[in-house]
Amino acid sequence: MKRRIFLLLTLALLASFVLAACGGAAEPTAAPAAAPAAEEPTMAAEEPTMAAEEPTMAAEEPTEEAMAEEPMEDHGDMTSVGASAEGAASVGLTCLADAYNGQMQGTVVSMNGPFTDEDQVKFESSVKAFEDATGIDIQYEGSKEFEASIGVRFEAGDAPDIVDFPQPGLMATFARQGKIVPATDLVPDSWLSQNYLQSWRDMGTVDGTEYGLWQRFNAKSLVWYPKKAFEAAGYEVPTTWEELQTLQDQIVSDGDTPWCVGIESGAATGWPATDWTEEFMLRTTSLDNYDAWVAGELPFSSPEVKNAIETFANIWNDDAMVYGGTPAIVTTFFGDSPTPMFEDPPGCWLHKQGNFITSFFPEGSTYGEDYGVFYLPGVDPEYGSPFLVAGDVMAATEDRPEVCAVMQYFSTGEGIRGWLAAGGALGMQKDVQLDWYGSQLEADIAALVADATSVRFDGSDLMPGAVGSGSFWKGMTDYFSGAADLDTVLAEIDASWPQQ
C-alpha cells in the first residue's frame, strides 16, 4: 500500500521534474538582458541615485513651475486627491476610488526595493493609512543586493507586483523584455500630465512607452558646512563661484583644509566623483552638451568634459584643499568623509553631497545649528544655476486592480506625504504641498531646487551600466588615485561605451 503511494508520487514527480526542466531549458535565452545601468551592490553603500534612458530632464521651463514642491494654487486648500474615494474619482483614478470604497479588502501587493531599515519604516508608516483605509496589504521587501536579486527574480519569473527602481536604466532593461506593465495602462494619462512635469514622464518612458511612475527624488547640488563654527569664524556663505573660491583660499590661509571629500564605497567606489563631474558639466558647458554627453554623443575625451573634470580636479588634486590630502580621497568612505566637519574645531569646512548625507552626520547634530547647507554656485553665469537631482521610479509587473490602486496612489502627492513628514525624501508630484515637509531642512532644499534655473538628472545613472556604474566610477578612481592620467582614463571610458 505504502509502496504504491510512493511509486505514484515518484512517477508524478518525475513527470513534473521533466516538465520543469524542459520549461526551464526553453527559456534561458531571455537571460541577462539588454544594456543598462545596475549598480554594483556593495556591503556598505550604494549610490543613492538613478538613471533614465531619456535624458531629457525638464527645466528649461521657468523655475516657478519647474519643480513639484511648488504649491499649485488650484490645490491650495483642497484635501489631497489621493486621500479619499471622492478625491480619486474626481481626477479619474478609478482603481484608487474603488479601493477606498472597500472593493479590494484582503488583497496583497508585493513590492521590492533597495531601501531598508529606517527608510523602510518610513515607507511602511507612510502607506499605513492607505492600507487601513483600503484593506490592501502592501508587502514591501527591501534588500542590500537589490540589483542582483531583482535581475534574478525577473528572469526566473518571480518578480514582485511593484518594483522601486533607484535607476530608470535598470527598469528600462526589464521594460524592453516586456516584463513591465506600462504606467499609462494603470494611471490615466490626463492625471499624469496634470500631476507631473512632462520631463519626469519622459524619463519614465522607454522606447516610446511610459513604464515608470516617479515617486520621490533627492537633491544633489548641495554643500554642507558646520554652521556654528562657520559663523564663529566669520565666514560667509558663498553665492557665486568667485566667492566660493575666495572662501576656499581664506580657509587655507587660516590654516585649515576647506573640503572633505571621500569617494570610497566598496564596489561602487568612485561614484561621488561622477556626481562632481556632472555638477561641473552643468556649470561649465551648455545643457545641450550635458544631454549629448549623457546620451553618449559627446565623448568623455571632448574638451568640454575634460574641462569640467579639471575644474574640480584643481581642488581635489591640491593637498591643501582636501582633508587628509588627495591620496585620502579614494580610500575614505563617502559616508564617513563629512565626519571631520563635526569635530571641534572642524577639520574641514565644506562637503558636497546629496541630501541623504544627513543620515551619516553624527547623532544629535541638528540642522541650522551644527550644520547648514547652501547651493553649490554656478561657475559661469552663462549657464545659470543648474541643479542636479536623482530619484526613485515605480514600475508594476501586474495589472491586477489592487496593483493599479497602489500605483495610482503613488502617483498622488498623498502617496509620499507620510515620508515627506518623516523626512528624508522630496516629492515631485505637483499636488505636494510645501508645508507637508516635516523638517525645515527638506523645505529649504525644496526651495533651493525651486530657485534653480535648470534641473538635470544624475548623468551617470542615465548612461548604460557598463559606463555609468562601471568604467566611469573606475576611471575617476584611477585618475584620483594617480593610477592613470586624465586623458588615458577618459579614452578608456569612451572605449567602454557599449556599441549597440
Binding site: K144, V152, D158, F342, P345, A421, A422, G423
Partner: protein, 371 residues
C-alpha cells in the same frame, strides 16, 4: 607525551615544547589582532571608531591638555607668536612645539583656534565604551517617525530573535542533508565499482569551480514552477546542491584512504555495503564529517545572497545576515552595527566548532585496525 625517557631526551622534548608554543603563540597573536580590534570597536560609538584607533585603549603615552586659552584679537597670527614662553609661527605652532614632555600646540585655524599646553602622560585611554551596538542588534532599533499630522510615531524595529531562529532552521538541515548525501556518494565513489564512476567523479570535482551565481536563475525558475520559492525546503536543497561538490570531494578523500583491510575483513564476515557504510565507515569518518560540517554550517550561516534569492528578506523569513545587513541602512549609514553583529552572529558557528572539535581525536583508526 612520553616522559619516561632519559633526562637528556626529556630536556630536548621540553625545549621542543617551548619552541612549539612560542611559535604558536606568535601566529595566534598575529591572527587575533584583527578580531580583537573588531571586538574593541564593537564597544565603541561610530564617532569614536572614526576618530581614534582601537589600540588607544591600551596604556600609551598621549598628550594631555593641562591648559588652554584663546588668543585675543591682538595676537598677530601671521607673525611669530609667543605663548607660555614658546614662540613660533602659526605653522610651527599648529604642528606643536615640543619642549621635553610639554608641548604648546595650536588647535583649529587662525580664526577660531585655541592654544593648548599639553603634557605627555601615560594613559589607558579615556574612552567611553558603549553597549549601544549590541543593544541595536539584539533589541532592534527604535525609530521616531514624524507623521503628517505632526504627531510622532514610535516604531520598534525587529529584534534578532526571529532572524536567529530562521538562520538555525536554514542552517541545520542545510548542513546535515548534504553531509549525509555526500557521505553515501563518497563511499560509492571510493569503494564501489560501477560504470561511469570516473566520469561522474570528475564532474563532481569540476562543479567545485562553478560560480553559484549562474545557477540562481535556472533554479529559481524551477522553484517558481514547483511553488518552492520562499520555502525552507527550497533553500535547504539549494544549499545542498551548492555544497555537495566540496562535501563529496572532501569526504571521498577521507573515506578512500581508510585502510582497505578493515573493509575487506568486514566483507569476509558477510557484511553488505550498507552495513559497512553505517557501522564502519561513518564512525571512522567522524573527523572528516565533523570538519565538513563546520564549514558547511559556516557558509550557510553567513550566506546572504542565496537566502535573499530563495526565501527573500521579509521579516518573517529573513535570516540573521539579512537582518544585520538591513540594520546598516539603505546607504550604509549605520555600518558600526556590523561590528557587534559580527560577534553576535559568530557565536553559533563557534559553538558548532567547539562542539565538533572534540571529534578530532586521535586513535580512531588505530583501534579499528586492531578490532
Amino acid at each position: 607525551m612520553t616522559a619516561q625517557t632519559a633526562t637528556k631526551k626529556k630536556r630536548r622534548i621540553s625545549w621542543g615544547a617551548i619552541f612549539v608554543n612560542v611559535v604558536l603563540v606568535l601566529v595566534v597573536l598575529a591572527w587575533s589582532i584583527p578580531t580583537f580590534g573588531l571586538l574593541v570597536s564593537s564597544f565603541r560609538s561610530r564617532f569614536d571608531i572614526q576618530t581614534s584607533g582601537w589600540w588607544t585603549i591600551f596604556p600609551h603615552q598621549e598628550w594631555v591638555t593641562v591648559a588652554e586659552f584663546t588668543p585675543g584679537e591682538e595676537v598677530d597670527r601671521d607673525g611669530v607668536m609667543t605663548f607660555e614662553g614658546v614662540s613660533g609661527t602659526f605653522e610651527e605652532l599648529r604642528a606643536g612645539i615640543k619642549d621635553g614632555s610639554t608641548q604648546v600646540i595650536w588647535i583649529g585655524n587662525k580664526r577660531i583656534g585655541k592654544v593648548v599646553v599639553q603634557q605627555k602622560e601615560w594613559t589607558a585611554g579615556n574612552h567611553d565604551f558603549t553597549l549601544e551596538n549590541y543593544q541595536t542588534v539584539l533589541g532592534g532599533k527604535t525609530f521616531q517617525i514624524q507623521q503628517p499630522d505632526g504627531s510622532t510615531l514610535t516604531v520598534q524595529g525587529d529584534n534578532f530573535v526571529n532572524a536567529f531562529l530562521n538562520s538555525l532552521i536554514v542552517s541545520i538541515p542545510a548542513t546535515v542533508i548534504p553531509i549525509l548525501i555526500a557521505a553515501f556518494a563518497a563511499y560509492g565513489f571510493a569503494w564501489m565499482r560501477f560504470p561511469g564512476r570516473k566520469v561522474l567523479f570528475i564532474i563532481v570535482v569540476a562543479l567545485l569551480v562553478v560560480p553559484l551565481q549562474i545557477a540562481l536563475v535556472p533554479i529559481l525558475k524551477l522553484y517558481v514552477g514547483l511553488d518552492l520559492n520562499g520555502t525552507f525546503l527550497g533553500i535547504w536543497l539549494a544549499h545542498t546542491g551548492f555544497g555537495l561538490p566540496l562535501a563529496t570531494y572532501l569526504l571521498f578523500n577521507y573515506i578512500s584512504t581508510l585502510p582497505r583491510e578493515i573493509l575487506e575483513s568486514a566483507f569476509i564476515d558477510g557484511a553488505s555495503h550498507f552495513t559497512i557504510f553505517m557501522r564502519l565507515v561513518l564512525p571512522l569518518s567522524v573527523p572528516a564529517l565533523a570538519s565538513f560540517a563546520i564549514f558547511q554550517f559556516l557558509w550557510v550561516w553567513n550566506d546572504y545572497l542565496i537566502a535573499l534569492i530563495f526565501i527573500g528578506s521579509k521579516p518573517d523569513v529573513q535570516v540573521l545576515t539579512q537582518r544585520i545587513a538591513e540594520m546598516v541602512g539603505s546607504r550604509g549609514n549605520d555600518w558600526q552595527v556590523l561590528t557587534a553583529g559580527a560577534f553576535i552572529s559568530m557565536l553559533v558557528p563557534l559553538i558548532v566548532f567547539f562542539s565538533l572539535q572534540r571529534f578530532f581525536v586521535r586513535g580512531l583508526m588505530a583501534g579499528s585496525v586492531k578490532g
